[in-house]
C-alpha cells in the first residue's frame, strides 16, 4: 500500500521518465550563478542570458533563480527544460512536506532531496545552487549533475564560474552584511558577464532571509556596486 512502494529517491508525485539527452538544439543557460551566505540571509546572483550551442543568445531576459520553498531559492543552470522541471518537482515536494507536517523543510533536507533527484532523475547537466535560511541559519549548497551536494559559505556554478570565483576569492568575509553580499555577488556576475560568452544581459539578485525570498532584476551591475 502507498508508503511501502514509495521510492525514497524519487518524487512522490510524477515519476522520472526516460528522456534522452539532447544536443545543441537544447536551450542552455550557460550562466554564472553565485550564492553567498551571511548571518542575515543568503544572496544569490545570476546573469540573464540563455543560449543555443554556446553561439547564439536565445533569450536576454531569463530569471535564473526561483523560489522553491518559503525561505529557499534555487538557480537554473544547464539545460533549461531540465532545470525548470527540477524546480517544479522540488517545489511540489516542499509544499507537500510543509502542508503535511505544519513546518517547512530544513535547508539540509531540501538539499538532500535535490541531490537524490539530480542523481536519479532525467534532469541532465543541471548544476544549481540552493540557498536557504532555517532555524540553524543561512546555508548555501551546490548540487552537481550526479547528485553531489556540497555546502559552503559561498559557491559559484555555470560556464562563468572560474571568472566569478576570481572576483569572490579574497573578497568574501563571513561577517559581511546582506547589502555587502549583494554588491559582491553583482561584481562576481559582472566579471563573468564581461568575458564568458554564456553569461550576460544584466543580472538578477535574490535575497533569502527568514522573512522570505525577494527577487530583483537589474539591467546593469553598477546599480548595486
Amino acid at each position: 500500500m502507498n508508503n511501502e512502494t514509495q521510492n525514497p529517491y524519487e518524487p512522490e508525485l510524477g515519476s522520472f521518465e526516460n528522456v534522452d539527452e539532447q544536443g545543441e538544439t537544447v536551450t542552455k543557460t550557460g550562466t554564472t550563478t553565485v550564492g553567498i551566505s551571511t548571518d542575515d540571509g543568503v544572496v544569490i546572483g545570476t546573469d540573464r542570458r540563455a543560449s543555443l550551442g554556446g553561439r547564439f543568445v536565445s533569450n536576454k531576459n531569463v530569471t535564473k533563480v526561483q523560489q522553491i520553498h518559503p525561505t529557499a531559492a534555487l538557480t537554473l543552470v544547464g539545460s533549461v527544460g531540465g532545470a525548470q522541471s527540477f524546480i517544479r518537482t522540488l517545489r511540489s515536494e516542499a509544499n507537500l512536506y510543509e502542508t503535511r507536517r505544519g513546518e517547512p523543510m530544513s535547508t539540509h533536507a531540501l538539499a538532500t532531496l535535490a541531490g537524490n533527484f539530480a542523481r536519479g532523475g532525467p534532469f541532465f547537466a543541471i548544476n544549481p545552487i540552493l540557498g536557504g535560511v532555517d532555524e540553524d541559519g543561512s546555508h548555501v549548497y551546490s548540487i552537481d549533475p550526479a547528485g553531489g551536494v556540497m555546502k559552503d559559505d559561498y559557491t559559484v556554478t555555470g560556464s562563468g564560474m572560474q571568472l566569478a570565483h576570481g572576483a569572490l576569492e579574497g573578497e568574501y568575509d563571513e561577517s559581511m552584511s546582506l547589502e555587502e553580499a549583494e554588491s559582491l555577488a553583482a561584481r562576481a556576475v559582472q566579471a563573468a558577464s564581461e568575458r564568458d560568452t554564456g553569461s550576460g544581459n544584466g543580472l538578477v539578485i535574490a535575497t533569502v532571509t527568514e522573512d522570505g525570498v525577494e527577487i530583483e532584476k537589474y539591467d546593469d551591475a553598477t546599480e548595486l556596486i
Binding site: N3, P8, R100, H108, T112, N116
Partner: protein, 245 residues
C-alpha cells in the same frame, strides 16, 4: 437469507453497520484489551515506555516477549494486542525512519512517524479481504529536542498524549496516571510513576517482568533499563519484588 444479510456488516471489514459502525475495527480494539498493558509517559526531559510482560509459564525466556521496540535511535514503540501484528507495524515504522534518512538525511519526527503508521493501519480498515491490525501502539521519542508521545489504535487514528495506557487493565492504569501525572516531572520520576501505574493493575508486579525503555531529550537515545535498575526504581516506588527474594 434475510438473517445472513443483516449480519453481514460484522463480517466484512469494509461494510458499515446501519448505525455507522465498523464492527471489525471494534473487534480489533477488543483484541488490544486482551493483551497485557503498555503505557507511555511524557516528562519534561524524555519519554518513558513501559509494559508488563505476561508470562504463561516460569519456563519462558522473558526476553523473548516483545512489548517495547526501538524504531530508530531517537524513537521507540510499545505495543498491546497481537504481538505478530505489532511486529509488522514496528518493521514498517523502522523502514519509514530509514526512508526519512535516505530522502532528507534527517531524523524522522515522532508525529510524522506516527501518521505514517496510522495511515498504513487505516488502509486495513478500508480494503476488501484485509483484516485490521489487532494491536495498539504507543509511539514515543524526541522531535526537535522535545519529548513527544502518540497512540495509534486499530482504526488508524493518531492521538497525542501526556500519559496513556493501552491493553488489559488500561482503565486502572490510566486512572493512576490521571491522578499522579505532573508535566514538570523529570525522567526518573516518570520511571517511578510508570512502575506505580503498572502496579495499579497488577498487585503482584515484579520488576523482572517489566519491560521499560526511555528516550532522553538530552541524548536523544532509546535505552532499555536493566532488571537491576528497575529493582532500584521499584524500591523507591515502594513496590513488591524484593519481598519475595
Amino acid at each position: 437469507m434475510q438473517g445472513n444479510q443483516q449480519q453481514a456488516y460484522d463480517r466484512g471489514i469494509t461494510i458499515f453497520s446501519p448505525d455507522g459502525r465498523l464492527y471489525q475495527v471494534e473487534y480489533a480494539r477488543e483484541a488490544v484489551k486482551r493483551g497485557s498493558a503498555s503505557l507511555g509517559i511524557r516528562t519534561a526531559d524524555g519519554v518513558v515506555l513501559a509494559a508488563d510482560r505476561q508470562t504463561r509459564s516460569p519456563l519462558i525466556e522473558e526476553e523473548s516477549i516483545e512489548k517495547i521496540h526501538e524504531v530508530d535511535d531517537h524513537a521507540g514503540i510499545a505495543s498491546a494486542g497481537h504481538v505478530a501484528d505489532a511486529r509488522q507495524l514496528i518493521d514498517f515504522a523502522r523502514r519509514q525512519a530509514q526512508v526519512e534518512q535516505l530522502r532528507y538525511e534527517e531524523l524522522i519526527g515522532i508525529e510524522t512517524l506516527t501518521k505514517r503508521v496510522t495511515d498504513h493501519i487505516q488502509q486495513y480498515t478500508q480494503t476488501g479481504g484485509a483484516r485490521p491490525f489487532g494491536v495498539a501502539l504507543l509511539i514515543g521519542g524526541i522531535e526537535d529536542g522535545e519529548p513527544r508521545l502518540f497512540e495509534a489504535d486499530p482504526s488508524g487514528t493518531p492521538y497525542e498524549w501526556q500519559a496513556v495506557a493501552i491493553g488489559g487493565g488500561r482503565d486502572d492504569i490510566q486512572k493512576h496516571l490521571e491522578d499522579e501525572y505532573d508535566p514538570e516531572m523529570d525522567l526518573a520520576s516518570g520511571i517511578t510513576l510508570a512502575l506505580e501505574a503498572l502496579a495499579a493493575a497488577d498487585d503482584d508486579l515484579q520488576p523482572e517482568s517489566v519491560h521499560l525503555a526511555t528516550v532522553d531529550a538530552e541524548t536523544e537515545r532509546f535505552e532499555t533499563l536493566s532488571t537491576e535498575e528497575l529493582e532500584e526504581y521499584a524500591k523507591e516506588a515502594d513496590l513488591g519484588g524484593e519481598d519475595d527474594e
